[in-house]
Symmetry: D3
Subunit: 134 residues, 6 copies
C-alpha cells in the first residue's frame, strides 16, 4: 500500500494529465503504472522525474534492451522490489531472453561477491587500473 494517494487520470490536474499523456505516447501504452501515480502527489517531482527518465532511457550509444538490463541490475543491487518487477517486465518486453536474464543475475551476484572481498581485504589499487581523468 502506498504512503500517498495515487492520482488517477480522471482526477488529475491539467499539469499531471500532460505528463500522463506523454508517458502513454512515448511508451505507446494505454495505462499509467502506479509508480507515476504516486509521484503525481507532488507534480513538479512527477514532471522532472518522468522527463529525465524518458530522456535517459532513449536509444543512444546503448540500445534500450541494454539500458533496461542495467536498470534491472542496479535495482537488484538496491533491493527495490517494485523496480525489479517493473524493469524485469520492461527488459523482457525489449527482448531480454531467459538465458540473458540468467547471465545477468549471475553477473550481479558475482559482482556482489567480489565487491565484498575487495571491500574487506582492501587490496591496493594496481597502477594499471589508475583512473584516466587524473
Amino acid at each position: 500500500m502506498p504512503h500517498v494517494k495515487p492520482v488517477e487520470y480522471d482526477d488529475a490536474s491539467p499539469e499531471v494529465k500532460a505528463v500522463y499523456d506523454d508517458i502513454k505516447a512515448s511508451r505507446k501504452i494505454s495505462w499509467i503504472n502506479n509508480f507515476w501515480k504516486t509521484l503525481a502527489s507532488h507534480p513538479p517531482t512527477l514532471k522532472r522525474t518522468w522527463e529525465a527518465l524518458r530522456d535517459v532511457m532513449r536509444p543512444g550509444a546503448l540500445d534500450v534492451k541494454t539500458k533496461e538490463m542495467l536498470f534491472l541490475a542496479v535495482s537488484v543491487a538496491n533491493n527495490c522490489e517494485y523496480c525489479i518487477a517493473s524493469h524485469m517486465a520492461s527488459a523482457r518486453a525489449h527482448g531480454m531472453s531467459e538465458a540473458e536474464l540468467g547471465e545477468l543475475m549471475a553477473v550481479i551476484s558475482m559482482a556482489a561477491q567480489t565487491n565484498r572481498f575487495a571491500q574487506g581485504y582492501q587490496p591496493a589499487l594496481d597502477p594499471q587500473f589508475k583512473p584516466k581523468g587524473g
Copy 2:
C-alpha cells in the same frame, strides 16, 4: 593498504601458482592484480572465486562488453572503489566507448533515483508487472 599480505607469484604455493597461471592464460596478460593476490591469503577462496568469475564472465548469451558494463554498474551501486577502477578499465578494454560510459552512468543514477521513490512511496505492484514464476 590491504588487511592481509598479498601473495606474490614467486612466493606462492603450487596450488596458488596454478590459479595465477590460469588467470594469465585466460586473460592473455602477464601480471596478476592485487585483488587475486589478497584472495590468495586463503587458497580455497582464491580458487573457488577465480573459477566462478572466469566462467560467469565468459561470452554467452551476453557478450563480454555488456557483462563488464553490468559488473561496473553493480560495483558503482555497491560503492566499491577498487571494483569500479578495475572494471572501468576492463569495460574500456572490451570496447566500452566514452559515450557508452556516459549513458551507463546516467542509467545507474536514474535507477538510484527512481528506486528511492519506489521504496519511499511504496506504490502497489501493478497487475501488469506481476512476476511470471508464480
Copy 3:
C-alpha cells in the same frame, strides 16, 4: 511475521513493563508498537535502545519534526519498510505537510542520484570542501 515472539504488556516481566510504561508516558500514547514488542525478546536490548532513541529524538538544537524527517530520510535510504511506515506516521503527527513530504522525497532521490555519480566518477575533493577537523 516476526522472527521472535512479540511480548505483550500483560505477559511482560517487570523490567519490560517499566520500559513499556516509559514509552507510553513519554509519547503520551496508550499502546506499544510491534517494534518494541519484538525487541522485548531481549530485555537489555529493549531498554538500551528505547532510552537512546528517546534521548536522541527529544527537541534540542533541532525540533522534533525535523528529526522525524531526517529519520524518515535515512529509513528510505536504508529501504526499511517498517521504519518508513512508522516514521512517516510520526513525521506527519509532528506536523510534516504533504508538500514537505514531496520535497523530502525529492531531496532523498536527488541525493541518491548525485551520490552515484560521485561514487562512479570519483571527482577529486575540491580544496574548498576540505574537512574542518584535520
Copy 4:
C-alpha cells in the same frame, strides 16, 4: 582521481559553459566544483542533473538549511565521501550549527540502528501505521 577527464571552464563547449555560468549565477560563487566538471564529460547528463538539483534544492515548503541537512543525512547513509564533504560544507554555509550537526549525526546513527532491528526481527506492521494511500 576521477575516472573521466574533468572539463575546465576554458576548455568547455558553449553548451557546458552555459551550465557552468548558471551554476555560478545561481550559487553566487565564482568557481565550479569537481563534481560538475566530471559530469561535463557527458553534457546531457551535466545539464539534466544540474537543472534538477537546482530546482529541488530551492527554498519551498522546506528551507535550504533543512534540505541540505536531509541531503547530508542521505549521503552519510549511502557512504558517499565526496557528497558528505560537499554537503557538510554547504549545510554549514546555510547555517547548520555544530550542535545541529551533532544531533543530525545522532539521528542518522539511531535510524541505522533501529532500521537493522526492524529488518532483522521483522515486526508486523501495526494497523496504526498503515499507509494512507491505500
Copy 5:
C-alpha cells in the same frame, strides 16, 4: 512470487536433479527450498552456487553455527528477507539459542550505528589500526 518459474524435482533435467540430490544428501533433508528451485532456471548458476555454498559452509576453522550466524548477520545488513528467514531457521537448527540471537541482533545494530558515525565524521585511521598487509 518469483520472477522465474521454479523447477520442481520431477520436471528437472538430469543436471539439475544431480544438484538437488546433492543438496538433499549434504543436508540430510528430503526437500529442496525455493531458493534453489529458482536458481535452477539457469542450471550452470545452480550448480556453481550450490557447490560454492556447500564448500564455504562446511565446518573448518569456524564451526557451522558460527558460520550460520555470520551469514545471518550479513543477510540482515543486506536486508534480504528470504535469506534472513532461511538462515534464521538454519542457525537455530545448528544450535543458536534465543539469547545468542538477542546478542547477535544487538551486535549487528551496534555496528550499523557506529559504521554511520565513522562514515559521517570520517576519523583519521589511527596508526595502531594500520592494515597488516601493506
Copy 6:
C-alpha cells in the same frame, strides 16, 4: 581527515574525560582512538554510544571473539573502511586466526552473492522457514 575537530584528552571537558577514562579502563589500554575523539564533538553522543557499545560487546551468551567477528562482518557489508580496520585489529587481538579470517570473508561474500539471487529472483518463502514469532 575528519569533519569535526577531534577532542584530545588534555582539552576534554570533565564529562568527556570521564568517558575516555572508562574506555581506557574497560579496554585496559592507554590511548583513545580517533573514532571516540570525533564523537566527543557532541558529548551526549559520545557517552551514549560508548556505554551502549561497551555493554553490547561484553562477553555473554556469545564470546568476545565471535562478537568481534560479527561486528567485522557487518562492517564489511556496510563498506566502512575505518570500522573494518579497527575491528579487524580487535578481532585479531581477541584471537581470530588467519584461517578464521579467511573463512569469515568467504561467508560474507557467499552471503552477498546468495542475497542478490534471492532479491533478484524473489523465491516464495518456504513454509518450513516461516518465522516463529507469528
